[in-house]
Symmetry: C2
Subunit: 493 residues, 2 copies
């Protein structure tokens, strides 16, 4: 057997264990009773150790060396590139650093769950110092291994090929027009009247409505499910994608659009190339591209006038007995496009969201590159919130720099993916409109032309191309902020 | 670290992977969409190979040899005995035989799913010949390893310590009085009038009723769940026990008692000693003892007059709008104790069930010991059905020897567990009544005294004792058919 085939076989073996981890992880979040948690966590930790052991088997080095000189076609070359990338990521860090960071991260995150509510920066900062220090060490080692700057080496985990030089350009562009645009839209919306849903909206009806919307979005129920969890997510495996939502009986608006969002993630997974199953070249390209699909579904399709007409109609059918004006298309449109300057990223609307992300990006970039200290973060946060959204977070740590889980366990480099995803989504839609009559398709209720485009250009490509190649092939240009800006202006002004 | 501790650590590692297998197996049966099956089966096969690899690691032989001479307390000695038993079971067969039997079994079972409906004995017999031949080889190898007869070596997989000499005695006893008793009871019931439930019984209400009955039986919902699957089972792990049922909207009687049955299995698992988690000494003692707990719940408690009063009352509360006489205690009693001579084991009542099992035991014993040929089975089946239940299965293979899945993939030695379980359950109840006012406790709705007895005498013992020791310690005598006979006479005559 060729070294390349040995590597492929090994990857498929790992993917089988990843499959079990994904299903047991879904189970833990969606259906496991609380008392099962300790034994489950132990079992999953054992599995992680086993998977890590498979990634770091000594013979892999030899196989990679041999595979480099084997005759491979274009697709196999891409597979080898991604296999090697995954192997390097798994082997670059010394075990003791991985363990130390994992411990410090768990400790910091665990304490944060209480400290945040208590606005306890002093307490948090003590634990977080260690997480930041170890993350800086991690970034340094990664940087030395791949010749990038420390922060870019962290970015590379989530967004291979993206670097802070290009993010600086993209985000400077956005910063140049976003604050003004936000102000204009808020002024425009100031006099708007709309009706907020007021419960009770039965959970079973919300679920039935969600399933109907998933059907409209052509979710493949033969290869996936909808369930509930405290924090909605898209998990499972491409042959069996598990999305979750959380129902709140006092309103249905958020959960419903959450289902649309997760369905975007799910359809990307369901559309990945089956011939490359079990290989990293058959996996999603990056966090940003993954988010581009959920945001394509949520923002480009889900909040379009044509789709909102469906949502309003279907919701009206499921929730009889409420004020019918709640379910008018115009009211739904207002509910789903309301803009507000506020503190919390996860509750932010489409327009203010990038401000939250850019702020985090600028801080984590400088922190990981050693240009600022972790104790500088609250003041920088406050300054940037004032600058981008006109809000002060002075002494308001819990709604400021202590609001996200990401930094508590050292996931630096992840935040940009959210706004990259929004920009990619706008660029994909803009390109798609050149050849697809998007609005007619959505209005007709048969969205196949949109999905055919996404499947052909993106989903079926897995990770065969680099992100830049993928986006250029799909849209004719590399990522830029123009389509995003135009989309926001069209929708909100 | 002592060799014994190394063995314990290794066992706990294996148990973590078994945990993942149990949860993913539950998922596959209870919630997985059909399209996920191929990838899941591949992932679970990979896991099986891995677990088998752990059971057969070469250093274990050395550890077992060293542990034998280490100073161990009584509990540790029991753990070592069970560890060794598990290790020997995993290592006794040559790999090629395991694979050949697995392949032949899959092929036979798969074809059987169609052949049974078509009453196609000729087709089935061709595949089954290979399964029987390989099972005989397996039995021979196991027999040589532990000095038992071939069939006893198969029995030992499911019922360690039980052998056909003692089964012959027990079952001869039953055969001496069962056919007459069945006839007497059928005569007695001939003139009984009762009302059959006639749908529709809403699935959600059936589930709510089932959950209420599980509460009455003190199922621990912090460590378990109720879900649905085509074939009801009890799975998961002791810290998270997953039971399933199947709802039929045309009636609720069967599913409801099925839940009682599975709750018995579940409470045994939930009551296993936590201090021995991950060790075979902390696992259920045997299939027969496991079944004794489900049958204790179903037959000894569930079909008692006191418990049926609860079932009738609760069902009446959940299914308004039906004929109230359906929900009278007297009618429920008749519904749940109706005796009928019939062909199918899984549909059999408490009284005729042992006849179905003894018939199978006698045939599989002689088949595995090479005293009969597999082609003799249909005629033997017909003879024994005539003898025990007065029914002919001539040319009726699908309702005769082709009705069960067990033999199709070579699970010879399993059938006796069902009737051993029924006998153990009767013996436990008979002993319990000497110190516990069982009927008052059931009537009061607080069944704690029963569960305290079971927990102390059985559940908390895991596999620390042999089955005979366990039963003798709990009841003062080894297993005999007297309690079972008396129970059946009391209930049915």
């Amino acid at each position: 057997m060729s070294a390349f085939n040995k590597l492929k076989q090994h990857s498929q073996k790992i993917s089988h264990f990843n499959h079990l981890a994904a299903i047991c992880g879904w189970d833990q979040a969606a259906v496991m009773p609380a008392g099962g948690n300790q034994a489950r966590s132990e079992a999953m930790a054992e599995l992680s150790v086993h998977i890590h052991g498979l990634h770091t088997q000594p013979q892999l080095e030899e196989w990679f060396a041999a595979a480099e000189s084997e005759p491979l076609n274009t697709q196999d070359k891409a597979t080898l590139r991604e296999l090697k990338r995954q192997w390097q990521q798994a082997n670059v860090l010394p075990e003791d650093l991985v363990q130390a960071k994992s411990l410090a991260g768990s400790k910091c995150e665990h304490a944060w769950r209480t400290q945040r509510g208590e606005n306890d920066w002093q307490g948090f900062e003590k634990n977080w110092a260690e997480v930041v220090k170890l993350s800086q060490e991690e970034a340094q080692i990664r940087a030395e291994a791949n010749g990038l700057s420390p922060y870019d080496a962290m970015l590379d985990i989530y967004e291979p090929g993206t670097n802070s030089a290009s993010l600086d350009v993209l985000f400077s562009d956005v910063k140049a027009w976003l604050p003004d645009l936000i102000n204009q839209v808020i002024d425009k919306q100031a006099s708007e009247q709309f009706i907020q849903p007021q419960g009770k909206f039965d959970t079973n009806q919300q679920k039935a409505l969600g399933l109907e919307v998933m059907k409209l979005l052509q979710f493949d129920f033969n290869h996936g499910r909808l369930d509930e969890s405290v924090h909605p997510f898209c998990g499972g495996v491409p042959s069996d994608v598990r999305i979750t939502t959380r129902y709140d009986e006092s309103e249905f608006v958020q959960s419903l659009m959450g289902i649309v969002h997760e369905t975007g993630h799910a359809r990307y997974e369901q559309g990945l190339p089956k011939s490359l199953a079990g290989l990293p070249s058959g996996e999603a390209r990056s966090m940003g591209i993954h988010e581009s699909q959920s945001l394509f579904f949520e923002m480009q399709v889900g909040r379009s006038e044509a789709f909102i007409a469906h949502l309003a109609r279907l919701a009206g059918q499921h929730f009889g007995g409420h004020n019918p004006e709640l379910f008018s298309q115009a009211n739904f449109q207002k509910l789903y496009t309301r803009v507000k300057k506020d503190f919390i990223r996860v509750d932010a609307d489409e327009l203010t969201y990038p401000a939250h992300v850019i702020l985090r990006y600028e801080i984590e970039r400088d922190l990981i590159n050693g240009k600022i200290k972790h104790t500088d973060v609250p003041e920088l946060w406050n300054q940037k919130m004032q600058q981008y959204l006109g809000l002060s977070t002075e002494d308001n740590y819990k709604n400021g720099c202590m609001q996200d889980i990401h930094w508590t366990d050292g996931a630096f480099g992840y935040f940009p993916s959210y706004t990259l995803g929004a920009m990619y989504a706008a660029q994909f839609m803009s390109t798609m409109r050149a050849t697809v009559d998007v609005d007619s398709a959505i209005r007709s209720g048969d969205l196949s032309p949109l999905f055919t485009w996404l499947e052909e250009k993106l989903w079926s490509q897995g990770s065969l191309l680099t992100t830049d190649e993928l986006v250029k092939q799909a849209t004719g240009e590399i990522l830029n902020a123009n389509h995003f800006k135009q989309h926001l202006i069209n929708r909100y002004l």
